[in-house]
């Protein structure tokens, strides 16, 4: 894979920025990549998607319990809030903030409703991230 992301991939990222799916933090992430770590952005995005999926799975399990431990739920949400803020996944971060409010209120219904929102926004951004990485991969293959 090239040391810098291809222009078309950057264009894909730009469209995610313009629709509010990502914020300027993602642009800062792109700037951190250099020749010494050419796969940095790919690794971060991949890790974010994997961790996020695992977290959503855990949240589903936690909220399915007869007796919900809202502190434990909040811990999982907080972790996703942090990583989404770090990669610039703005809508995921905002959904997490809302989720944490319902955790504080110990509202199972509120948490379940917000989990649905979180699931939608997370899979939206992770789907687009994966498509972006596939595009990058295809272009790298094409230039070999």
């Amino acid at each position: 894979m090239a040391a810098t992301m291809k222009l078309s991939t950057l264009g894909y990222a730009a469209s995610m920025l313009s629709t509010g799916l990502l914020d300027e933090q993602f642009q800062k992430l792109l700037l951190l990549q250099d020749g010494s770590d050419p796969n940095f952005v790919v690794e971060i995005i991949t890790l974010f998607c994997e961790d996020g999926e695992r977290t959503i799975g855990e949240l589903t399990k936690q909220l399915d319990k007869r007796c919900v431990n809202f502190d434990e739920v909040a811990d999982f949400v907080h972790k996703l809030e942090g990583s989404s803020a770090t990669v610039g996944a703005q809508r995921v971060k905002n959904a997490c903030i809302q989720f944490l409010e319902f955790c504080k209120e110990k509202s199972r219904d509120g948490c379940l409703k917000t989990l649905d929102t979180l699931r939608v926004v997370f899979y939206d951004v992770s789907g687009k991230f994966k498509a972006m990485l596939q595009l990058e991969q295809q272009q790298a293959e094409a230039t070999k």
Binding site: K28, L31, D51, H78, G82, T86
Partner: protein, 134 residues
């Protein structure tokens, strides 16, 4: 006190349970040629100090499994580690007080900015130069 040898890297400890956040902060610190060690929770961090490891700076998350950041910082300071710069890092609004109460030097909200990390590392380097003892 750690002796400073001209050009010796800043020894940074990242205490963070999120792999994504650890990777991003590590990438930032590498830009400033820091020697990076990571711990996944407060307990691992404290253990490092118990083993005699020394660091110039700690970037410490707040909420982690096993042992939280503030709890770890309190224990690290209680070990006599009063010179290591400790930066509390969190995405939460009300984390600053929790960190400063236990002896952190500074609080930085997440997501961390490269400029902020640069300023912090430059300060640590300056302090190391000024404390040049052998």
């Amino acid at each position: 006190m750690t002796s400073y040898v001209e050009g010796s890297p800043v020894k940074a400890l990242i205490v963070e349970d999120s792999a994504v956040e650890t990777m991003v902060l590590s990438a930032m610190l590498r830009k400033f040629h820091c020697e990076i060690t990571t711990a996944k929770n407060g307990k691992e961090a404290v253990q490092m100090f118990l083993e005699g490891k020394k660091f110039d700076i700690i970037f410490c998350d707040k909420d982690m499994p096993v042992m939280s950041g503030p709890e770890a910082i309190e224990k690290i300071r209680a070990l006599g580690e009063i010179y290591v710069k400790i930066v509390g890092v969190s995405v939460g609004d009300n984390a600053q007080e929790a960190f400063m109460r236990v002896g952190a030097n500074e609080f930085v909200p997440k997501p961390m900015k490269l400029d902020v990390v640069r300023a912090i590392i430059q300060e640590v380097i300056k302090k190391k130069k000024n404390n040049n003892t052998v």
